[in-house]
Structures are given as structure tokens and as C-alpha cells.
């Protein structure tokens, strides 16, 4: 069979009918040898011993299915030119795709941004879509935060959700015990999460590759389990409920006197608060993006990327890799902390169940799918992943299966993510995108 595959692949671009005929004949022969014995003859227990049942018809259909399947493969997938391109997509289509991306790329970002701003006021936008928008934006923000650690610094972090949890619990507990408002807790949650980022950073400084991934994974679980078991402080599995909702800079979203609607002379509607939350997360996400883009052009951002490329070379150039790694962990964690406190105020209730490993995996999938280090890639991937999850909500248990399959397809199709180029942080004459093939992926890949 292996030989047959080779001849099939060697058939190359042209349609060689005799080659295909020969290949199919071999397939049929092998199929007959295999299925002829296993399917055509079947023994059944009958009274007084075994009886032989002949099923030539079934065997014939199975062999036919194999031959037809192989024919389809020969005519489609295996027809790609030998050597060179590793992906299954024809060269011409790839070129067109790159061209299309380059053309739309410039207009794409402003259009997406504009859409995000007017989205709550569009006629078809209802409560459900707004909630979905908020969810997607939360993951965009988390993706951008994780992108600093994984995409730029190249440190594989499988426990990112821990910082999200730290941010959420910081706000919930500070509000519960000290009655602090959301606007004071937001920066505090960021600082606390960054602090935990540094705490995680220290033990993993010397770790590379798989070991780094395992320790960060464990860290994520430790935080969750502590939250689950420290009943007196965190409420354990009961979680924390009654977390204060955010106010419009002091004006609460409530019915009647002194409420948001009353203050601005509007009719009261519960959607006001949702729209406010939407803009809140939009602004938080845009701040994350702005800071990341800014940092990339500063020495620290360039040092993160250099760290991903070659740590030893970094040290030989006098870069303190310890502080560079710690700042990457702390900055990434800080944004997760912001997102976490937003999550707490939106939900009004948090429990350790919201911060399981699957969340970390989802955020990491968004970053990898989007193309490591690419900001707009994260947006596309979040919309695809979270939006896709919603579309396939009907399919229930098959949802994960469909997504697993989609991920596999995309990794075959575009192994370096949707946006597979790296934009240089500085240029002399002309900004040329660097192909991702040349970019190192850092530790743990």
C-alpha cells in the first residue's frame, strides 16, 4: 500500500489515467485480500456448533468505498505538486489569499474598530448579541494579554486563567470586605495579578520547554484549588455572590431618582447597563492593545521578542533576561487581572468553576490560532472561536468535536496561525513583514 501511495503522489499535477487505474487496481486487490477474509466470511454460533455466513455483498461495498475514497484522494489532495509546499492548499489560492489579506489588511482594522463602536446601536443588536459581544471582547482582551507572554516573549503559559481568577477575586473580595468601588478595584486587581505574575515568574525563570508549560499549568490549578478550599475567605465552591455592579462614574444603573436614565433624561431600560459594560470592556481591550503596540516599539518589547528568538544571545548582549521574563509575566498577568475584575462585575457572581484549565486552553488556542504575536489575529480568532461556540450551541456534545476538527484543519492549512507574518518594530526605509517561518516560537513549542 505504501508503494501505491508513492506512485499516487508521484503522479503530480497531471492526470495520468493509466497510473490512477493501476493504483486503483492495487487498492481493490489489497481491499479484497483484507475485507474478503474479514467481512465476507463470518462465523455465528448456531445450535450444535458454528455456522458460516457468507456476506459477499457487504464485502463488495466496503471494497468499493475504499476504491472510491482513494480515487477522490488521488484526484484532490494527492494531486498537489511534489516537494516544496507542505500545505494542501494550491499555490495559486495561497497567493491570492496573501494578496487579498494585504489589500484588505489596511482597511480591515479601522472597519472592525468602527463596527465594534457602533455595534450596540445597530438595529439588529439585541440583548443576546450584546452579551455575546461582551464575551468575545473579554476573550479578545485575554488573548491580547496572553499574546505578550506567549506571542512576544515566547514563554508558554498554560495557567493564564489563574491571573484572570486573581483579578476577579480581588475585586469581589475587596468589594465584599472593604466596600471598595469598581473603579478603585480595577487598578488594584491589575496590580495584584501582576504581583502574582512575578510570583509565578520566579520559579519558572530557569525552566524551558515542556517544564515551563507543566509548572504554569500547575500554577493555574493551585490557584483554583486554593480558591475552592479556602472556604472561610473565598466562599469555596459556593463562590461570591452579590458583587456590586459598576456605576457610570458614580451614577448607578437603577430605576427612578438618581439613576443613569433619570440623570440623562432617558427612559429606563435594563439594556443601558449592558451597553455600558460593552463599552467598558471595549475600552479596556483597546487599552491593552494600545499598550502592547506601544511596548513592542520600546526596548522592553523588542527585548521580549529577542528573548523568544534566542535567550543566550540576549544574555551575551547584556540583557538581564530575568527581569525581561518577569516583566513579560507581570504585564500579561496585569491585563488578565483587569479582565478578571470586569468579569466579576459583569457576572455579579463568581466561583472557582469559571477558572478551570479549559479557559486557559481556550485563550491559548485563540492566540495560537490568530498567529502568535499578531494583534488582529487574536480578534479574528476570538470571533471565530467564541462566536463559533455560540453558533454550534445546538450541536451540544458534538460542539467540541467540531472545534477540535476545525483546529486540526487550520493547523494543517495554516500552521503558523491565521496571520503568519511578523511586523518589524522599527524600520529604516521600508517596513517589510517577516515571514513566520523565520520567526522562532520560543520555549515550549
Amino acid at each position: 500500500m505504501a508503494e501505491a501511495t508513492q506512485t499516487g503522489a508521484a503522479a503530480g499535477g497531471g492526470l495520468d489515467l493509466s497510473e490512477i487505474g493501476k493504483d486503483l487496481a492495487i487498492t481493490a486487490l489489497l481491499g479484497a485480500a483484507l475485507f474478503g477474509s474479514t467481512i465476507a466470511f463470518k462465523t455465528e454460533t448456531a445450535t450444535g456448533g458454528l455456522s458460516l455466513v457468507l456476506r459477499f455483498e457487504s464485502a463488495f461495498f466496503v471494497i468499493a468505498a475504499v476504491v472510491v475514497g482513494r480515487l477522490i484522494l488521488l484526484l484532490t489532495v494527492w494531486r498537489r505538486p511534489t516537494g516544496g509546499d507542505r500545505t494542501f492548499v494550491p499555490q495559486a489560492l495561497q497567493l491570492r489569499y496573501a494578496d487579498f489579506l494585504a489589500k484588505t489588511g489596511k482597511a480591515f482594522v479601522p472597519i472592525v474598530l468602527l463596527f465594534a463602536v457602533v455595534f450596540p446601536f445597530l438595529p439588529f443588536t439585541d440583548r443576546y448579541l450584546l452579551d455575546l459581544g461582551i464575551l468575545i471582547l473579554t476573550y479578545v482582551m485575554l488573548g491580547w494579554g496572553l499574546n505578550i507572554v506567549v506571542g512576544l516573549a515566547g514563554l508558554l503559559d498554560l495557567g493564564y486563567v489563574a491571573f484572570y481568577a486573581v483579578g476577579a477575586y480581588s475585586y469581589a473580595l475587596l468589594a465584599q470586605y472593604f466596600g471598595l468601588s469598581f473603579w478603585i478595584c480595577l487598578p488594584l486587581a491589575g496590580i495584584l495579578a501582576a504581583f502574582w505574575g512575578i510570583i509565578l515568574g520566579f520559579p519558572v525563570l530557569r525552566l524551558r520547554g515542556d517544564y515551563l508549560a507543566i509548572v504554569t499549568l500547575a500554577f493555574g490549578e493551585i490557584i483554583r484549588i486554593v480558591l475552592l478550599n479556602w472556604y472561610n475567605f473565598t466562599g469555596g465552591p459556593d463562590g461570591i455572590s452579590g458583587i456590586p455592579r459598576p456605576s457610570f462614574f458614580g451614577i448607578p444603573f437603577k430605576r427612578g431618582e438618581g439613576g443613569f436614565a433619570d440623570f440623562f433624561g432617558l427612559d429606563y431600560s435594563s439594556i443601558h447597563r449592558i451597553i455600558f459594560l460593552y463599552f467598558l470592556i471595549l475600552i479596556l481591550a483597546l487599552i491593552t492593545n494600545f499598550v502592547t503596540i506601544r511596548l513592542r516599539r520600546l526596548p522592553i518589547g523588542r527585548a521580549w521578542e529577542a528573548l523568544r528568538e534566542d535567550e543566550i544571545a540576549c544574555r551575551s548582549l547584556g540583557l538581564n533576561t530575568t527581569s525581561i521574563k518577569l516583566t513579560a509575566f507581570a504585564t500579561g498577568a496585569m491585563f488578565a487581572g483587569f479582565a478578571g475584575s470586569f468579569f466579576a462585575t459583569r457576572q455579579g457572581f463568581i466561583s472557582p468553576e469559571s477558572f478551570t484549565f479549559i479557559e486557559s486552553a481556550l485563550i491559548l488556542a485563540i492566540v495560537v490560532l490568530g498567529g502568535m504575536g499578531s494583534q488582529i489575529g487574536v480578534v479574528i480568532a476570538s470571533v471565530a472561536m467564541i462566536g463559533g461556540f455560540e453558533i454550534f450551541r445546538e450541536a451540544e456534545q458534538y460542539r467540541m468535536l467540531i472545534f477540535g476538527l476545525a483546529m486540526v484543519m487550520i493547523m494543517i492549512w495554516r500552521p503558523r496561525g491565521l496571520i503568519a507574518t511578523r511586523e518589524p518594530s522599527i524600520f529604516l526605509k521600508e517596513k517589510k513583514a517577516v515571514s513566520a517561518d523565520m520567526v522562532a516560537q520560543g520555549e515550549g513549542h
Partner: protein
């Protein structure tokens, strides 16, 4: 330029053991300011080990390594972290197998080498986020410095290409330029001519002579290419089995019988005589 023969780097009784293996045995040497010092020796003589001890990648078992900076300050390198050796002692190195940041552009590579001054100028990033003027000025200076080196290695045209895209010879030169961008007072090159064709190694010689002449930077190099070593070195140190067997100018070293025996090879009929000599040397060393 400061006094030509002032020591820049002194190595005293450097010994490096890996378990039972004695890789470097009681090596003492000096590199002088404004000199090109070459460290040569057959394969396995311990050259790269010495290098890794000097640059802090290994901690030597015994010995003292002192870097005398131009401003009169001394640094004991064997006690310093590897990145501080470059940052504070101004001692830069390149690698035998080129270690560029392949996915980053040529210009970015040169900018990363200027990380520490830029970091200071950006007030540890905080000022940089808000785009303070002093940072912009420092960044402009850093780009000018990068351009200066790009001109000298003839890569100005390729400044915005990925470093991994460059041909091998250019990558070597870029790595040297990148090390020079850290503003070193001593530049250590680990086999800079390895894999270069004769024309490229000629260019390399010119670049190294330029560094010595213009930048007030001493050079210490490990090299196999005798064209490079004999052509430009002011001072050659020969290692064999971790022991220093010769130390002097190119002429002195070339005519030293121990060196000829150990490194440059001998005629067939001399093998026995040289063999005795090696045994004697080994006996001396043991004592």
C-alpha cells in the same frame, strides 16, 4: 588612544574542570588595550572553554579574570553574571554557531544590542510609553549608531530584511556589528572566519582592523583560519590540552617548535623527535 601596552584583560591561573576532565589547566594570559590577541590551538585544546569562562557562561574552578576598563575601574569577571559582563564590564562576544535573532530585522538586531542605554532613556519603559523627548533622542542616536555599523558592514540596503534571510558571511559580520553596538572595550570572537570563503575572510580582516583602529576596542579571537590569525594578530597565545604552550607575536609563535609539533603539524621523519618533545612538555606540566 590610551597607552598601547596597558593590559585590558588579565587572566591568572585559570583552571576549569568538568568532573575528571581538566579542560583548562592553570592558564595565565594578558590581552593588551588596542591589540588583536588570538587564542589558537588544535581541536579540543580548550579554547572555547576559556572563552566561556571569560564571558561568564561557565564559572571557572579556579583562577581570576580581571577586566581593566578605560575609566580605570576593574571588574572581576569570574564573579559576575554573564549579562553583567557585557553590560558593566563592556566585554562583548560572538558565537561559533551564529546566534542572531533570525526572525527580527537587521536593524532590530542592532537595536537590541543597545537595550541598556535605551532602557535607561525610556525611564524603564514608563517614560517611553508616553513618548518623552529624551527617549526619542536616545532612539534616534541608537538608529544612527546602527546605521554607522550597517555602512561599515555594507548591509545598509538590507537593514529591513530578516536577519535569517542574509547570506552566511553577512550574518557573521552582522553578529560582530551587533556586538560592537553594545559599546564594548573588549570584543571576543569565537571563530569568526569559520565557514567564510577567502574573499569574505579578507573582508572580515578589514572589519577587525577597522574595529581596532577606530573604536578603541581590543579584540580577542579564537580562530582556525591561519590567514586571519597570522595576518592581523598582534599577539598570539597557543593552547594545547588546556595548557599554554606559547605566547608571543606571530613570528615568534610560528617558529616555536612546540607549536609546530602540537598545532601546525610536522614532517613524517620528525615525528619521533617531536614525540619526545611532547612527552617532555607533558612531564614539565605534571610537575
Amino acid at each position: 588612544m590610551a597607552d598601547k601596552k596597558a593590559p585590558l584583560l588579565t587572566v591568572e591561573h585559570l583552571t576549569m574542570r568538568f568532573g575528571g576532565l581538566l579542560a583548562v589547566n592553570d592558564l595565565s594570559m594578558t590581552a593588551y588595550r588596542g591589540d588583536i590577541t588570538a587564542l589558537i590551538g588544535p581541536n579540543g585544546a580548550g579554547k572555547t572553554t576559556v572563552f566561556n569562562c571569560l564571558t561568564g557562561f561557565y564559572k571557572p574552578t579556579e583562577g581570576r579574570i580581571t577586566m581593566h576598563r578605560n575609566d580605570g575601574e576593574d571588574f572581576l569577571l569570574e564573579r559576575m553574571d554573564d549579562f553583567r559582563i557585557t553590560k558593566n564590564a563592556r566585554f562583548a562576544r560572538t558565537f561559533q554557531n551564529i546566534r542572531l535573532f533570525g526572525g527580527m530585522t537587521v536593524l532590530e538586531n542592532l537595536m537590541i544590542a543597545q537595550h541598556n542605554p535605551l532602557m535607561r532613556a525610556s525611564k524603564q519603559t514608563i517614560g517611553g510609553i508616553f513618548g518623552i523627548a529624551s527617549f526619542k533622542r536616545a532612539e534616534k542616536e541608537a538608529i544612527e549608531r546602527a546605521e554607522y555599523w550597517l555602512e561599515h558592514i555594507n548591509l545598509t540596503q538590507r537593514a529591513d530584511d530578516a536577519a535569517a534571510d542574509l547570506p552566511y558571511g553577512d550574518q557573521r559580520k552582522l553578529e560582530i556589528a551587533r556586538a560592537m553596538c553594545t559599546g564594548p572595550e573588549l570584543l571576543c570572537l569565537d571563530e569568526p572566519a569559520a565557514g567564510l570563503n577567502p574573499a569574505e575572510s579578507e573582508e572580515l580582516n578589514k572589519l577587525l582592523l577597522f574595529v581596532r583602529a577606530e573604536c578603541d576596542t581590543g579584540i580577542l579571537l579564537i580562530e582556525h583560519d591561519m590567514n586571519v590569525v597570522m595576518g592581523i594578530s598582534d599577539h598570539i597565545i597557543v593552547l594545547d590540552y588546556g595548557v599554554k604552550i606559547a605566547d608571543g607575536t606571530a613570528e615568534e609563535v610560528r617558529s616555536d617548535p612546540k607549536v609546530i609539533a602540537a598545532y601546525l603539524g610536522v614532517e613524517d621523519e620528525e615525528v619521533d623527535a617531536v614525540g619526545h618533545e611532547i612527552e617532555e612538555t607533558a612531564a614539565e606540566v605534571r610537575q
